[in-house]
């Protein structure tokens, strides 16, 4: 038997989305109806939407926590909640927004869009995709289970020792957080692996690395960073858990441990993480803004390089979170300088966006307003970040509301605003209907004004010396007005988010029908029907430029992408495998069918973590055994997948 027996020449045809071929592909790729089908689906579009919906649910929960915190701080000497509840509320707010909302929502967009943008039929590892979603959901529920029984994280999201250690924190709060985070980290890791392999292997022929849309660059960079950074904090949480439960001495000074080890491990993860939750959002703008400027992004290559360079430098700035811990001057100077250098790639992107608007024909739409306002907020958040990145300023403002103001400008400004803009842009693709533009304007202005009213005064209260995380404050320090304004702004911002939710719920059923390309955009996802069929592309396209749908207009390249003619691939679920850099097709990949195993494996992890929390041996053993069996079923080589030799006939 030779290799030739295992190869095939794909048929090349021009086909439309209402042909018999399309019908056949639909039956091949469609998820079975019913609850088992729903739980087994590996369709990236379904998983992407679940990611977005779930992370928005967490956003709402985290938002409610923030509003309670703001009520407590609206006036001096209040006691809306108890100090213990307050600690858990602000900690859970941080954990929810930074972990359970900010990355998963971007994973949702990328999961939904990547195969469509790349010209493929699914993510490279569809079952791993389902697994990463279920694990995200269950880890979120695990963390919230602790919160619900009054044992949520209570030491802020970065959870410094020694306060997190057993003698100071005897309840189960920290065990929920430590184990819950490790659990969540598994989801991020699984998702990260999937994005990496997808970007390298499953694309349309011709979608070479220099033609990647920004959505690919941003998410790819973020996930490469995550794969290297998440182990650091997972390890730190593991050490914290063993210090608490088994008497190890990683952070205990008396036995030779080092509390600062926690801070190093946390921020070696924490700073790259900040970029992981903003770079994909920035790339939403890099891809979305040009649609509303009617021209390609200025400096495509420069922005792509800036994205990657930001992440690389991002691994070398973590100590600027630790300037107040008494480190040597040499270390502080180095990390101060590195933090300044990182401004350069950020500025490259900002100038590219401004130049795109400047030289383009700007079109007012809710999405474009969100994108433009993002640039404004990014500049404010960047400037305050530049300030806190310098040692002398940081010594003045560290642990004050100035830092709280900075982090919210960065995370809401650079994550939430692009995400909402992205939703206005891609909602038509996902549902086939437009979001209401009129309600959208109300949505935008309420969010934009509420946000600035709420969060800009935080810089002022910080400069006036108000420490972050205080339960309350006495009258007569001059902090009353700024705090009241902050609270009012936060509530207006929340109303803005509520308008978005209403818009989504109403437009889903009653919005204007969108058609394949309502914005006349340039990327490949807009060549499919809205919503796209389960198999994405009836024939696999070939890409000849960065802007497949604008080629005739731009006339930049000689060749033309072929979108309605291409490889058929209908011998089961199949897609093309390509070479990593040039996207030369080199294999027909067999894609897995729907499977309940990802859910089962994820559930066995849930049992494992409950077992670890309760320190119950038999439960841990049971979960490990079940996980082992489910993994073997998952990985068992199958003839239909081309993983084992065909039996002799």
């Amino acid at each position: 038997m030779t290799v030739a027996d295992y190869s095939r020449e794909p048929r090349i045809l021009a086909e439309s989305y209402d042909s018999p071929l399309a019908e056949r592909l639909k039956t091949l790729w469609e998820t079975k109806p019913g609850i088992i089908g729903w739980l087994s689906t590996v369709d990236h579009k379904e998983i992407g939407i679940r990611y977005i919906v779930t992370s928005f649910a967490f956003l709402v929960l985290g938002g409610i926590e923030a509003l309670i915190v703001r009520l407590q701080l609206a006036q001096p000497e209040q006691s809306v909640v108890t100090p213990t509840q307050y600690n858990e509320l602000f900690s859970m707010h941080g954990v929810t927004m930074i972990f359970l909302y900010a990355l998963p929502v971007l994973s949702g967009f990328s999961n939904y869009l990547w195969p469509l943008i790349l010209g493929s039929r699914d993510m490279a590892l569809p079952r791993l995709n389902a697994f990463s979603y279920w694990t995200f959901l269950f880890s979120g529920l695990f963390l919230y289970a602790g919160f619900a029984i009054g044992a949520g994280p209570n030491d802020g999201w970065f959870n410094y020792v020694p306060y997190a250690l057993k003698p100071f924190n005897p309840g189960p709060s920290q065990d929920f957080y430590a184990l819950g985070f490790i659990f969540f980290g598994l989801s991020v890791t699984a998702g990260g692996i999937n994005f990496m392999v997808t970007a390298l292997r499953t694309r349309a022929p011709g979608m070479s690395i220099n033609r990647f849309p920004m959505m690919i660059w941003g998410t790819l960079t973020a996930n490469a960073g995550n794969l290297l950074a998440v182990p650091s904090v997972s390890l730190a949480f593991f050490m914290l858990w063993t210090d608490r439960q088994f008497g190890t001495h990683f952070f205990n000074v008396e036995a030779g441990g080092q509390p600062l080890l926690w801070q190093h491990l946390f921020w070696m993860f924490g700073h790259p993480w900040v970029y992981a939750i903003v770079l994909p959002a920035m790339s939403i703008v890099s891809d979305g803004l040009p649609v509303f400027c009617r021209r390609p992004l200025v400096g495509h290559t420069a922005v792509a390089l800036a994205t990657v360079i930001t992440m690389i430098i991002g691994f070398g700035v973590w100590v600027h979170h630790m300037f107040a811990t008494g480190l040597p001057n040499l270390a502080m100077s180095f990390f101060n300088a590195a933090s300044f250098v990182i401004v350069i790639p950020s500025a490259v992107s900002v100038f590219a966006w401004v130049a795109t608007i400047w030289t383009g024909r700007f079109i007012y739409a809710t999405a474009s307003l969100f994108f433009v306002s993002f640039i404004w907020l990014f500049v404010i958040g960047g400037v305050s970040g530049f300030l806190t990145g310098s040692v002398p300023v940081d010594w003045q403002v560290t642990d004050t509301y100035f830092v709280v103001g900075h982090i919210h400008y960065v995370l809401i400004g650079i994550n939430v605003f692009p995400v909402v803009g992205g939703l206005y842009l891609w909602f038509p693709k996902m549902t086939g209907r437009m979001l209401n533009e009129r309600l959208g304007r109300w949505n935008f202005w309420t969010m934009f004004l509420g946000f600035n009213l709420g969060f800009f005064p935080m810089h002022i209260s910080g400069l006036m010396g108000m420490p972050r995380r205080v339960y309350t404050y006495p009258d007569g320090l001059g902090w009353n007005t700024v705090n009241l304004v902050t609270t009012i702004g936060a509530f207006i911002f929340a109303i803005g988010v509520l308008l978005l939710v209403i818009n989504v719920l109403v437009s889903r059923k009653h919005g204007r029908i969108a058609g394949p390309n309502p914005w006349d955009a340039s990327n490949l996802e807009w060549s499919t029907p809205s919503p796209p069929p389960p198999y994405n592309f009836v024939v696999l396209p070939t890409v000849a430029s960065r802007h497949p749908l604008w080629e005739d207009r731009l006339n930049e390249t000689e060749g033309r992408s072929t979108i309605h003619e291409g490889a058929v691939l209908d011998h089961g679920k199949e897609t093309l495998g390509v070479s990593p850099l040039d996207a030369i097709p080199d294999a027909i990949l067999k894609m897995p069918h729907d499977s309940i195993m990802p859910l089962c494996l994820s559930l066995s992890l849930m049992v494992l973590f409950v077992g670890l929390l309760l320190k119950t041996g038999w439960l841990i053993g049971l979960a490990l055994l079940a996980g082992c069996i489910f993994s073997l079923i998952w990985l068992w080589p199958r003839v239909s997948q081309g993983q084992r030799r065909e039996p002799a006939t």
């Binding site: 027996d5 295992y6 950074a229 050490m239 990683f250 491990l265 067999k590």
Partner: protein
């Protein structure tokens, strides 16, 4: 454009070695797992240089080479056996694949047992001092990865004995062997940190 055209182009179908998505997935699993071991050893060196409570490693902590050096060689031989198995199936030799996997599995188990003796010989526990915590957590993390590797080798052996593979279809072997080589390679870094470094001071 010519090199992109699918006209007249024979494409390999299904899962084939480095063309399969599974092989790439394992590559990135290795990347992120390697990061865990890097951070573990960062923690070790950080604690070592920040030490204020006397010598490092603490008295009685200096690791002996009596068991660990031969054991390291056993683990490396196990990797060689796994490589030999993969090498054989690439030439279609199913028998030698099974032999290679079986030898790799047995040597891996021997390593685990000897490592158990190594642990029981220690005069400190993970709760004695920070060195003890680091020693047991680092070697324990490795043991956990080793066990995953042994389960994978066992599964690969069963599949091999069932006659699942031939010269073309053996991606499970390539990916499993790749992971096993990682488990062995990362041990070398741990061996250097815990067993060799203290002698170089």
């Amino acid at each position: 454009m010519t090199d992109l055209s699918l006209e007249e182009r024979q494409l390999l179908v299904g899962s084939m070695g480095q063309r399969s998505t599974g092989w790439w997935a394992v590559l990135f699993i290795i990347l992120t797992e390697a990061a865990i071991f890097a951070f573990l050893q960062f923690s070790y060196y950080y604690i070592a240089v920040q030490q204020t409570l006397g010598t490092w490693p603490p008295p009685g902590g200096k690791a002996e080479l009596t068991l660990s050096l031969p054991n390291t060689i056993i683990l490396l031989l196990s990797s060689v056996a796994a490589w030999w198995g993969e090498h054989s199936i690439k030439r279609g030799n199913r028998l030698m694949l099974s032999v290679g996997l079986a030898v790799a599995l047995v040597l891996g188990c021997v390593f685990a047992v000897i490592q158990g003796f190594e642990w029981s010989n220690k005069h400190f526990t993970y709760a004695t001092h920070t060195y003890g915590s680091l020693y047991y957590v680092i070697t324990g993390f490795h043991m956990a990865h080793l066990i995953v590797g042994l389960v994978a080798l066992a599964a690969m052996l069963v599949w091999s004995l069932l006659g699942y593979f031939n010269a073309v279809r053996h991606t499970a072997i390539s990916t499993g062997a790749l992971y096993w080589h990682f488990v062995d390679a990362v041990w070398l870094t741990i061996f250097f940190t815990l067993y060799i470094m203290p002698y170089l001071r």
